[in-house]
Symmetry: C2
Subunit: 348 residues, 2 copies
DNA sequence: CTGTTAGCGCTTTCAA
DNA sequence: TTGAAAGCGCTAACAG
């Protein structure tokens, strides 16, 4: 009978961090561990009486579920990896914010990853993050490494691709049509009567969505018989400073320019502030339009005309789509066009 | 002999997502699972020959470790929860960026949480996130719920508190002295000869670090025999718009004001842009100084005088401290003053 | 509605 | 340097 319990006495076999476990709670409540599990995860399946006893035991012991153990057993942690190209670009931050707020409210945690616009990095990040048995995945854009697409597609859990709208997508998709957005601003500039128009962007080899906006811009101008459009494309990331510099370069190269279509508000703001400083009048001397809808744009003088995208809402929408599937429902629309709005202000 | 293998035939008992496991790799390489584990985690402890065979098997099967299982067994996932008050405040984003970049490079993943400046929310977030058996934790500020402090203190794993410097801290600490930072700008304004000075901030009940800066400001002015300082304190979050509004309110209430000390660059930028629009000359009509060192400040006219804090670097430093402990070393200095710099530009 | 049993995939401990 | 055995803490499956 001495051998009945083969547990080494006096210490635990594994160096388990001596936390309160589900068994402790079960003992305290006088039920089986599985009942505690059910009382916590599917309260409906437990009688009110036991549920209450369990709740009390949980409270009195300060039990906190080990989500890792639960995740291993059920092959699904409540973790959602969110993979974006960069954390230094405000756009992505705002989207992540919307995602995070929505998911956290539903009891899911965001695991943050950034790829630096590199699809190989994205692939290996997805690989490693899949090791956490996530409940779903949110990633940026529709272009990925073949391996990533395949792995995610055969995975069988919800996946949302954000920022960009199109086909094919892995599973679900929330974003906007960048070509249209670019065309929209180009058309606006044309409507305003500008003809000598340049498109200015930086880092566009990496950010193909900006290229798409340029493509939309180009098409509209071409249709109007206008060929003259520059495209500054240094490889630095967007910033006020980059905007300032490409603006000055463009001005020097094309003194006759009437309007500039910036790839995003950061560049436009940098340029506009430089124009302020130099006494260059906007839009009289040169008009400026761009893309994003940063709040800064409303506070500049002149106020910045831009194509606004609801970034926070895009994140919320992506998270909602994911949650719907996580809760076993099927979203009526697995593809959400979050839309954009031409916000005409004073700079054009 | 028919009963030798009690496995239900034809299907798995648990709905294991049929991924490649360490056993598959072991079989392929002709070794025991534990050897695969060692070859992957502590390559030094495996002979070169076996290590190579394992690597090949891993590659040919496309094995990706299940970090959840590993985490359960070893009571430590490579996850680092990072808890900040808000994701809509650029400061925290930049710190998170520094953390994320540094940790990801070392093979750790950031689990993002936000508390909305609420210590109760922080406490429950920490609780739930501890369920992931994280390898360490980074959280904001030195003030926490007692339960949080206790839990983290007895936890035995690295914890870094960021943004703010002081005692006591739970484990390690990277930040700046906010009182000093506030005093620094106040002193600068005094040195410039301004006497009728207001401190303007919003949402300061929640952001006690801004209060600390105000306290530093107040002390310096008091020492100079100056009592007159306002403190606008609506409960909204900081934004350009809020800055614009409190600026106008302050001007209306105190037309004789010579200088304004803003709680942060966002407010100051909103105010400065409004001054631009109204033709109010800065610093001739009114001087402006603030706190943060956002890049926007360099592009305004006049360029914004501010107390700059290296936010990205603060994140990097916090992550480095954590990693050092994670790698078994003891940081020489568990408390890092990341410092600030008075950046005198044109607005004062 | 509740309990028993058997793992989830990995790593720790212990032994060779 | 390698392996066998024993769980980490939880939940799916299968009775009762």
């Amino acid at each position: 009978m001495a051998n009945e319990k083969p547990l080494p006495q006096g210490r635990r076999r594994h160096q388990g961090v001596n936390r309160v476990t589900i068994s402790d709670v079960a003992k305290e409540a006088g039920v089986a561990p599985i009942t505690v599990s059910r009382a916590l995860n599917t309260p409906d399946r437990v009688s009110a009486k036991l549920r209450k006893r369990v709740d009390q035991a949980v409270a009195s012991l300060g039990y906190v579920p080990n989500l890792i153990a639960g995740g291993l057993a059920s092959a699904g942690t409540r973790v959602i990896p969110v993979v974006v190209p960069s954390l230094s670009i405000l756009t992505f931050i705002e989207v992540v914010h919307g995602i995070q707020q929505t998911l956290e409210g539903a009891g899911y945690q965001v695991l943050l990853g950034s790829t630096d616009f590199d699809l190989d990095r994205e692939a290996s990040l997805i690989d490693s993050v899949m090791g956490y048995s996530p409940s779903g995945v949110i990633l940026t854009g529709l272009r990925h490494h073949d391996r990533t697409v395949h792995r995610l597609q055969t995975w069988g859990r919800p996946v949302v691709e954000i920022m960009e709208l199109g086909t094919p997508c892995i599973d679900m998709n929330v974003g906007i049509d960048n070509i249209q957005a670019g065309a929209c601003m180009a058309q606006h500039l044309l409507d305003r009567g500008y003809r000598r128009i340049a498109f200015l962007g930086v880092g566009m080899t990496r950010d193909y969505r900006a290229q798409q906006r340029f493509e939309g811009h180009r098409q509209v101008l071409a249709a109007a018989g206008i060929e003259s459009n520059l495209l500054f494309a240094s490889e630095e990331p967007s910033s006020y400073e980059a905007g300032r510099r490409v603006f000055l370069e463009a001005l020097a190269a094309r003194p006759d320019l009437e309007a500039i279509h910036f790839a995003n508000d950061n560049l436009a703001a940098g340029a506009l502030l430089e124009a302020n400083r130099r006494g260059i009048r906007v839009p009289e001397d040169i008009a400026m339009g761009s893309y994003l809808g940063l709040s800064l744009g409303e506070h500049l003088t002149p106020r910045l005309t831009t194509v606004s995208v609801p970034r926070f809402e895009m994140g919320v929408e992506a998270a909602k789509l994911l949650l719907e599937r996580l809760q076993g429902r099927t979203p009526s629309q697995p593809r959400v066009d979050i839309g954009y709005r031409l916000t005409v202000r004073e700079s054009t």
